[in-house]
């Protein structure tokens, strides 16, 4: 430090002891405890609902009790008279300025994107749609005033069933009809594949509707100073939201700042441009006061977009030895009442994943999006890929059963061998790397596969009322969304990049700014590890800023397991640019050529001499700027935008053993083993946590969760008392391990892990349930595999399908 040529300020900094010594590599791959935790563990949180503003008022929305109705009258006058009430509005009051909630994914030529007013004006199309709002000094007054709003409805027929909806003469959700879009993808000669096929498996599976249920309910706070607007929202996508809100409300983008403060989970449910976000902005514009909305859980179950909800007709043609000839998939996908941000795209995300890890000669995918009078569906953890993986992995088990071979053997005969990568699949994707054999072998060993099979045989022989079932899921998924070059080829402009920047502070501390927007994933920790290794600065000297469009000005946010694969790499590249700048400065200060310098352990060293400059010294030198070379700016700060060439393809093998009580139908998970290959790992602790949570959500789809509407369109699972989320007491410990086949598509070799567990686990569990009961003639149990459904399957009646 003594060499620092510094002024007074510089001396103070230098003497402050703040400037750390550089460190070597070794952060990547280390099980660092998270930087995020301390705040969250001590209650120093910034959930949107925690935020207060001077003069803040609370809005509540009155929601339609009718699934489908014409609004004939809304009278808010009585509500306005109540104490503490500032204003009350109906949809008509916003009709001229509220625009339409956007759908950013027109997936086909024939798509119909109906007008979607944030607050219903003339017609409601699902239970929960906002029809009026009340703004009051606090939420208690607002809740009271909501009761004084009068709404008259003229009921219209609910449209609940997708098959019925497509039947000619069905009541219509929208004037244009109930078909949102249809699309077909064909590759290879499907007819030939099925013609004279020795084995054809033909199944229909129901992907039930799910409620994402992030633990933090949504909340929005909007404020304005009359000129600029700030919106805090519990969102995954502050950047996308900012543009979309500017477009929707007419507030110029440069006067709108969007902040995602602490966000309590999303799982896709906060990948949305919501009615409440738009309306809070309009309200603050109209009232000139900060307006907050805090969702209640029962409100959220009605109005946070739902997930899944598909009917999957899948047919597989195979040779007598089990080798797959071809695959045909026909989907009906329930859109709900409107197309929201990526609603129609969700089933299409699975379009190229039904063929999964298997080789085949022909593939056909057809999908019809259907309007119903329900809450719109949209992204939920995995979005399209869990559905596809479920169908193919279920059918692979059926194929094995048909042939009388072990389900793993059926997969071995068809999967892409590790020496065949990179491999271009029938659906046109190129898988860069993978080793299905290795993951499967490891999983079988951890699981004790042969021993469990022996126990299963024994229980079958003994006629034990508690039968053992073993379920297999050898999955892959497509993540790291998405390569802009390929989007450009399809004439869709940019879209898949991510931004990262690095600010070198005078004291040698580092601010990393990322365009990703974490809400539990631990980006602050992982990005710190990446930057620490790249720059050679201590892990603790790095902070990561995110989730505020005024701080992280560019970004495409967090969803689709993209953050590390795209955003993490962008941070790495920004670090490289910092080093490029630092190298020039170091060469200047050390009076050598940049080529004579090698960067090691956070310092540039002149080859063959002891002279060196640490990155911190260089940051300080750039700050003082007393002695900069010609053409070098007084900063090392850099930014980078990374855009991959391809998706990444994590994979793995999940094995699940269940005990099925054939007398009651109760399913209990006996053991669960997951061996995932997510490429290189930045922080194994975080990766394991993502896998655990993902498995839990996938298991929950298999066994517990279902959003149920009655025939009139009332949601019967509006509270957590009826929408059953598993607690610690309902889940087992998961055994996890990894194999590591680096991705070839990015310099970190990473693949993404956010959705893997969810994608893999659902079919593993259901396969296990069916496997337990197959000797009794059961070949399917509809999800969730409730005790009643399992019991009925055993009884051979409704709820299960027997062969």
């Amino acid at each position: 430090m003594t060499e620092l040529d510094a002024g007074l300020v510089g001396e103070q900094i230098a003497e402050s002891g703040q400037i750390a010594e550089p460190t070597g590599r070794g952060e990547i791959g280390r099980a660092r405890r998270r930087k995020e935790d301390a705040r969250l563990l001590t209650g120093h949180t910034r959930w949107t609902d925690n935020l207060q503003q001077p003069g803040m008022v609370q809005v509540m929305f009155l929601r339609s009790p009718m699934a489908h109705a014409r609004i004939t009258r809304v009278d808010v006058s009585a509500a306005k008279e109540l104490p503490g009430v500032l204003a009350a509005f109906s949809g008509r009051d916003f009709a001229d300025e509220q625009g339409s909630l956007p759908c950013a994914w027109p997936v086909s030529e024939d798509i119909v994107i109906p007008d979607h007013p944030p607050m219903a004006v003339s017609e409601v199309r699902y239970v929960g749609e906002a029809v009026a709002c009340v703004v009051a000094t606090d939420r208690y007054r607002a809740a009271d005033a909501l009761e004084a709003v009068e709404v008259d409805y003229e009921p219209l027929p609910a449209v609940m069933d997708m098959h019925d909806a497509l039947t000619p003469g069905s009541p219509k959700v929208h004037e244009s009809g109930n078909k949102a879009f249809s699309t077909t993808i064909t590759s290879g000669d499907v007819e030939a594949a099925f013609r004279d096929a020795p084995v054809v498996i033909d199944r229909t599976y129901i992907q039930q509707r799910l409620i994402p249920s992030a633990m933090e309910p949504r909340a929005v706070l909007a404020s304005t100073d009359g000129d600029t607007f700030t919106l805090w929202s519990s969102t995954q996508i502050p950047h996308v939201l900012r543009v979309m809100l500017a477009v929707t409300t007419g507030i110029p983008e440069h006067r709108l700042r969007v902040i995602a403060p602490d966000v309590g989970g999303g799982f896709g449910s906060k990948l949305q441009v919501t009615a409440e976000e738009v309306l809070c902005l309009l309200l603050t514009r109209r009232l000139g006061r900060p307006v907050k909305w805090s969702e209640s859980r029962s409100e959220g179950n009605l109005t946070v977009h739902h997930g899944r909800d598909q009917i999957q007709h899948i047919r597989l043609a195979a040779e007598a030895d089990g080798r797959i000839r071809g695959l045909r998939v026909e989907l009906l996908a329930d859109m709900g009442a409107y197309l929201m941000l990526v609603t129609p795209g969700v089933p299409m995300l699975g379009a190229s994943m039904f063929n999964a890890i298997y080789k085949m000669d022909a593939y056909e995918f057809a999908c019809t999006g259907v309007f119903t009078t329900k809450m719109p569906t949209d992204a939920y953890r995995g979005a399209g890929r869990p559905e596809a993986t479920f169908a193919i992995e279920r059918v692979m088990d059926e194929l094995a059963a048909e042939l009388g071979i072990d389900p793993l053997e059926a997969r071995r005969r068809n999967w892409i061998r590790h020496d065949e990568f990179p491999y271009t699949t029938i659906s046109g994707l190129t898988y860069d790397s993978g080793n299905y054999e290795a993951a499967t072998e490891r999983a079988m060993a951890l699981f004790g596969y042969d021993k469990l099979r022996a126990e299963q045989a024994d229980r079958r022989d003994r006629g034990d009322p508690v039968q053992l079932g073993i379920g297999v899921s050898t999955y892959t998924e497509m993540c790291g969304l998405a390569p802009s070059r390929l989007l450009g080829m399809a004439n869709y402009g940019a879209g898949g990049w991510e931004h990262g920047s690095v600010r070198m502070l005078p004291t040698g501390k580092v601010e990393v700014i990322t365009g990703t927007s974490p809400h539990g994933q631990g980006h602050v920790t992982s990005w710190s590890q990446i930057a620490a290794d790249a720059l050679g600065v201590p892990f603790d000297d790095i902070t990561v800023l995110h989730g505020d469009t005024a701080v992280a000005h560019k970004g495409m946010d967090t969803y689709g397991s993209r953050s590390l694969v795209i955003g993490g790499v962008a941070v790495l590249q920004a670090c490289e640019k910092v080093k490029d700048k630092a190298r020039k400065l170091a060469a200047h200060l050390l009076e050598c050529s940049p080529d004579d310098l090698e960067f090691e352990a956070g310092a540039f060293k002149v080859r063959g001499t002891g002279a060196s400059k640490t990155i911190q010294e260089l940051a300080f030198a750039a700050f003082t700027a007393h002695d900069l070379p010609e053409g070098v700016e007084a900063r090392l700060d850099s930014d980078a935008t990374f855009d991959p060439d391809n998706y990444s393809f994590p994979h793995g093998t999940h094995l699940c053993a269940v005990e099925v009580d054939t007398e009651t139908g109760m399913v209990k998970i006996r053991s669960y083993v997951a061996v995932d290959d997510v490429g290189k790992v930045i922080n194994p602790l975080i990766v394991e946590g993502q896998v655990h949570g993902g498995i839990a959500q996938g298991v929950a789809q298999a066994l517990f969760e279902e959003a149920v509407y009655d025939a009139d369109g009332n949601l019967l699972t509006a509270t957590m008392a009826d929408y059953l989320l598993p607690s610690a007491a309902d889940l087992p410990t998961f055994t996890t391990d990894r194999t590591e086949t680096p991705s070839t598509g990015n310099p970190l070799g990473v693949k993404g892990v956010g959705e893997a567990g969810t994608i893999a686990s659902t079919p593993a569990v259901v396969n296990a349930v069916v496997d337990a009961l197959r000797p009794r003639g059961v070949r399917d149990v509809q999800m969730p595999c409730t005790p009643e459904r399992v019991w009925r399957a055993v009884q051979g009646t409704r709820g299960g399908v027997r062969s």
Partner: protein, 284 residues
């Protein structure tokens, strides 16, 4: 969600509480509030006044009174399940109480509150019914004993009259030779029982001398499976128990709801009764 407005009276005495309830049919007692608060928050309940009996002296605690155990209405679930007296003299109550909701709810929720709520899916009504408990109602006019068989009138309705408050419950001691089990069947740990079976069995010389069976969520009130009780008398523990339990659903009218259809509940009642009897009888 936010409760609607109501007045609040923290009763200084049971008499004051009874008066307040007698004066206003829309007044409502609050004990621990663990069933009531969610209803208030969802605005499914609009009491004019909440009469808080949570701090009244003498309503809380467990006492061994010779031939019976007295459980004060305001005794929390947590206190009940830990009570040495309950565990020794009427362990079935402790077993079932330990399955109510979750620990935090059990710290606040009360024994009397759960019974007065009269939810047929609640775990305790069937237990008190099976044990022939006597519910002690207090009003301005004094005390009234209500046998459990007459207490549960309908879905969420008890035979408490306006102005009456459940003050305590007497659980008769069954004496030596009895075994107990509460078999709760639910989809997740937090969920309501799809069906629950409370069983008490007296066994001697390898045979069942007497059995009591209470059913949870098999009708609009908790029910006794009298036919099973009759069929089990004198049955040797073993093969003969199962056929006797086939009568478990006799006379029930189980609800159809999101979580189960009536025929499945009937089936479960039989299976779970068999299991509960087996465990209560100490069968392997």
């Amino acid at each position: 969600m936010i409760p609607a407005r109501f007045d609040y009276l923290r009763a200084g005495s049971l008499e004051e509480a009874c008066q307040a309830l007698a004066a206003d049919e829309d007044a409502k007692v609050i004990a621990g509030g663990q069933s009531l608060l969610p209803l208030l928050r969802l605005r499914l309940s609009y009491p004019t006044t909440l009469v808080d009996i949570g701090r009244l002296p003498g309503l809380s605690g467990v006492e061994d009174r010779g031939d019976h155990v007295h459980i004060g209405a305001m005794t929390t679930h947590d206190e009940v399940m830990r009570s040495p007296v309950v565990n020794a003299a009427c362990p079935l109550v402790a077993m079932a109480t330990a399955t109510v909701a979750d620990p935090a709810v059990r710290h606040r929720g009360t024994f009397g509150g759960s019974l007065a709520h009269g939810d047929p899916a609640g775990d305790l009504p069937a237990v008190v019914l099976a044990l022939d408990g006597v519910l002690v109602a207090r009003s301005e006019r004094g005390e009234r004993d209500i046998p459990a068989a007459e207490f549960f009138v309908d879905y969420l309705e008890s035979s408490l009259r306006p102005g009456e408050i459940l003050a305590g419950v007497r659980i008769p001691k069954l004496g030596e030779g009895w075994g107990y089990h509460y078999e709760k069947f639910h989809r997740t740990a937090q969920a309501w029982a799809i069906v629950g079976v409370a069983a008490a069995v007296r066994r001697s010389n390898g045979a069942i001398q007497e059995a009591r069976v209470g059913l949870t969520n098999m009708g609009s009130t908790p029910l006794r499976a009298r036919a099973v009780e009759a069929a089990l008398r004198g049955v040797e523990v073993g093969e003969q128990v199962r056929p006797a339990c086939e009568a478990a659903a006799e006379g029930t009218s189980p609800p159809a709801d999101l979580h189960a259809q009536p025929d499945y509940r009937r089936h479960l009642a039989k299976v779970l009764t068999y299991r509960a009897i087996g465990k209560a009888a100490g069968a392997p």
